[in-house]
């Protein structure tokens, strides 16, 4: 079972390899991320940033190597463990992955409803997270009527609503102008200060320079620093 994610090392990768049809995407990747840390994963496009995040979220399985998330060896997971594991991790996707036929409120509610939470608690949590992100007046809007930055924040709201132990974000500033991008990273920083382990994949050098955080640099699937 997934259980709770805990331990001093929140994310541990040991000699992880990932191949796609013989093409190597990650080669011998080993690192650890402590509980409560904020880490950037960086590198050029195609360096393997997204693959690394997807491995942490069990969207992919490593070809070789071990991945320990919050003390759980996820390569030993069975199919039924995956949903419960994912509920403890917030993932902000590059393309947001919002349901366009549902309102902002319903998009976030769905992530809570699947856990069996009752409607009153769901409403309270959503109002809290929406006002935290400055989206309370957008609750009844559908995603496609919102700007890119707003959709990004809805995606973050959905990830935060379930109060994850770990927050993963794949190129969260990719579609935003520099000012908005800084706002979003500030937001992640704030979330991190509240105790959540945050991992952000970005190719944006200026963001990394601006925030004084550890950065794992990937080059063609290998860690270089």
């Amino acid at each position: 079972m997934a259980g709770t994610l805990s331990g001093p090392n929140m994310i541990n990768m040991f000699h992880v390899y990932k191949n796609y049809d013989g093409m190597s995407a990650l080669t011998d990747v080993t690192f650890k991320i402590d509980k409560g840390e904020f880490v950037f994963i960086t590198g050029a496009s195609g360096a393997g940033k997204s693959t690394l995040l997807r491995l942490m979220f069990y969207m992919e399985k490593p070809t070789q190597g071990q991945i320990i998330m919050g003390g759980k060896n996820i390569s030993r997971f069975r199919k039924k463990d995956i949903p419960f594991f994912r509920r403890k991790i917030g993932f902000v996707f590059q393309d947001f992955k919002l349901l366009n036929n549902k309102t902002v409120f319903d998009n976030i509610a769905l992530a809570l409803r699947i856990t069996g939470m009752d409607n009153n608690d769901i409403s309270k949590k959503i109002l809290k997270v929406l006002s935290y992100l400055g989206l309370q007046h957008k609750a009844n809007f559908k995603p496609l009527t919102l700007s890119g930055g707003e959709q990004q924040r809805v995606a973050i709201a959905r990830a935060l609503a379930k109060e994850p132990t770990i927050l993963l974000a794949d190129e969260p500033t990719g579609n935003l102008d520099p000012e908005r991008a800084v706002d979003i990273i500030n937001l992640f920083n704030d979330i991190n200060l509240r105790g959540t382990t945050v991992v952000v994949a970005t190719h944006d050098k200026s963001i990394i320079d601006r925030f004084n955080k550890r950065a794992i640099l990937l080059d063609r699937g290998r860690i270089v620093n």
């Binding site: 969207m59 919002l98 699947i114 069996g116």
Partner: protein, 297 residues
């Protein structure tokens, strides 16, 4: 614990899904309705044909001719013995005199033929009707051979050739119906499961997102399952409507001699509930097949 809440969620999701994917839902419902109407038409004709055949089957009877000049109580004993046989539904005694007078009646205008005849050539007989279970060549043969062993019975006849041909025909009809019926059913399941798979395909993004936010397999699949059951039910109701209209127009154009065959049993309780059950089962089968193939990452 949360089962009721989840169930309520599934139901509301299913209705919401049908509404927001109205076009695909309508295609699925129409496919089920038309497939079921075709199956129902076939089944209806088969039921009617079966009814006609079984009413013909009721005419199967075995005639036991009695020896002349048997005393009344011997005849009575023979009748009692025959009534005790498991194959026998009932029997009717036809005396020599009665047989002769029926024959005379049938000759009508040509009574003159009988004028020279001084004696009554007809034997007394027992006309035995056979129970449904034994209305087949083996049953009738078995009964006949046992009747022949009873003392006082001269001869037994049962229109052997006719009975055998009739049963070959029934076997043929049943086999034909079974083959065509199973083809129809398999084709229908195939069509419905593919239509549902198209629905799933058009919503693969939604399914993917649900998996990514941590929904369990059951949580993802249940609304689709319920939706398919609802569509199966609606499709069945529409197919009953189609069959009713079909029956109406067929009856208008059909000469009364064939009416018994064409008069589809649309509104009998077995037929309607059978169609609705089939629709629901189609929904269950079709969605299970396509959901099984659905990979959730």
């Amino acid at each position: 614990m949360n089962y009721f809440r989840w169930f309520a969620h599934f139901i509301s999701e299913s209705f919401q899904n049908i509404r927001s994917n109205l076009a695909t839902s309508l295609v699925t419902i129409a496919t089920i309705a038309i497939s079921l109407a075709i199956c129902g038409l076939f089944l209806g004709f088969f039921i009617n044909l079966n009814n006609i055949l079984s009413s013909i089957g009721k005419r199967i009877q075995v005639v036991a001719y009695l020896k002349d000049d048997l005393p009344q109580d011997t005849i009575l004993n023979i009748r009692k013995e025959i009534a005790g046989m498991p194959e026998v539904e009932d029997s009717e005694y036809l005396s020599k005199e009665k047989a002769f007078s029926i024959f005379k009646e049938e000759l009508k205008g040509q009574k003159g033929i009988l004028d020279g005849l001084g004696i009554n050539p007809f034997p007394a007989s027992l006309e035995i009707r056979v129970k449904g279970l034994f209305r087949n060549p083996q049953g009738v043969k078995g009964l006949t051979s046992r009747l022949k062993m009873i003392g006082g019975i001269e001869d037994v006849q049962y229109g052997q050739e006719w009975v055998e041909r009739f049963f070959v025909f029934i076997k043929f009809v049943e086999g034909f119906a079974l083959i065509i019926g199973s083809f129809l059913l398999v084709a229908t399941v195939f069509i419905v499961s593919n239509t549902i798979r198209l629905t799933l395909y058009s919503r693969r993004e939604e399914i993917e997102i649900l998996g990514l936010i941590g929904a369990t397999n059951i949580f993802i699949k249940a609304p689709f399952f319920i939706e398919a059951i609802l569509e199966g039910f609606l499709g069945a109701v529409i197919s009953i409507g189609l069959l009713y209209m079909g029956r109406y127009f067929l009856m208008l154009k059909t000469p009364s001699a064939f009416a018994q065959f064409v008069d589809l049993p649309v509104f009998t309780i077995y037929f309607t509930s059978g169609l609705i059950a089939t629709g629901v089962i189609l929904g269950i089968l079709g969605s299970s097949i396509s959901l099984k193939k659905l990979a959730i990452r």
